[in-house]
Amino acid sequence: MNRKVLFVGLILVAPLLVMLASGLRHDPREVISPLIGRPAPEFALLDLEGRRLSLADLRGQPVVVNFWATWCQPCAAENPIFAALARRYAGRVRFISVIYQDTPQAIRAYERQRGSWGPALVDPDSRTAIQFGVYGVPETFLIDAQGLVHEKVTGMVSFDGLTRSLEAML
């Protein structure tokens, strides 16, 4: 009888173990973006000076799209990383940022104080953020020259990690 109980127990538990084991391969905090490998959502937004910038206009070279806000501490921490990478890849990669749930006034004040590494685009009602499936900031999307989403970085980027990704795209 004990063997039967053990056997039945194993049969009951096995599917759960398989399910849990498959989960070990994933970072529980990370939700994989379904946009990877797909065309990036198109957008045409205005920057702080009122100039229109569309993703379609940037086709032909890799684009880094960073969603951020002034109230976001990790966003402030990754600001120098983007500034350094924008300098290193000037002319080869476009770096743009999309303002997430923040005001142009706050962004202007922030940029006066800390500088800017690329156009900051105003995203009314977070519509572009929604199209990109943004959960929170910072989130960064790497779009290749063909306009396909190459990678999504959730949370703060690292200089080395982003460099590796950009080199792979170039």
Binding site: G37, I130, Y135, L148
Partner: protein, 171 residues
């Protein structure tokens, strides 16, 4: 009834328990779409609206209904309809815009799913691996009921007069 005649009944109990479990495991692990995956390069754009453009009270009602099926991305288990967060407010506004443009509720949720993945659905779709979520509780209940039935049912007098070897062992 002797020990030899008990064996087939025990085996049939095991079969009754194991067969559905194996079926669930098979369906969950090997069914098409078990892992959320779609062909790379598929269009992410919305198809044409399939419903009538909504307005007024019908739009309010439909917005609440669709938003209640969507998970607030920055909350713990709250729907977009229930969450007061600014993210949820923006998502709800987008739901409203799409419904007003004539997209059906299914189309609206599908459009969010293309950006956020299946996570955006408060209830997972009943397909592939997700069948585990729907079937496991029912199976666990059925298995429990079967086990309880066989443990608690009255013993037949014949079994007492002819104990099996296993019963005769000292504990």
């Amino acid at each position: 009834m002797n020990a030899a005649s008990k064996r087939p009944r025990g085996a049939s109990i095991l079969q009754a328990i194991c067969a559905p479990m194996a079926l669930v495991a098979f369906v969950a692990l090997f069914a098409p779409g078990a892992i959320v995956a779609q062909a790379p390069g598929a269009p992410a754009q919305d198809p044409a609206p399939l419903g009538p453009p909504l307005s007024g009270a019908a739009l309010d009602r439909a917005t609440e209904e669709v938003a209640s099926l969507m998970r607030c991305p920055v909350c713990q288990g709250l729907s977009v309809a229930d969450s007061p967060s600014s993210s949820a407010v923006d998502l709800k506004a987008e739901v409203r815009r799409q419904l007003a443009a004539g997209f059906t509720g299914d189309q609206v949720i599908a459009s969010f799913e293309r950006a956020y993945g299946e996570f955006i659905r408060l209830e997972p779709k009943a397909e592939g691996f997700n069948w585990m979520v729907w079937l496991m509780p029912m199976l666990a209940f059925a298995v429990g009921a079967i086990l309880i039935y066989f443990r608690l049912r009255p013993q037949r007098p014949v079994a007492r007069t002819l104990p099996s070897q296993e019963d005769a062992k000292p504990s």
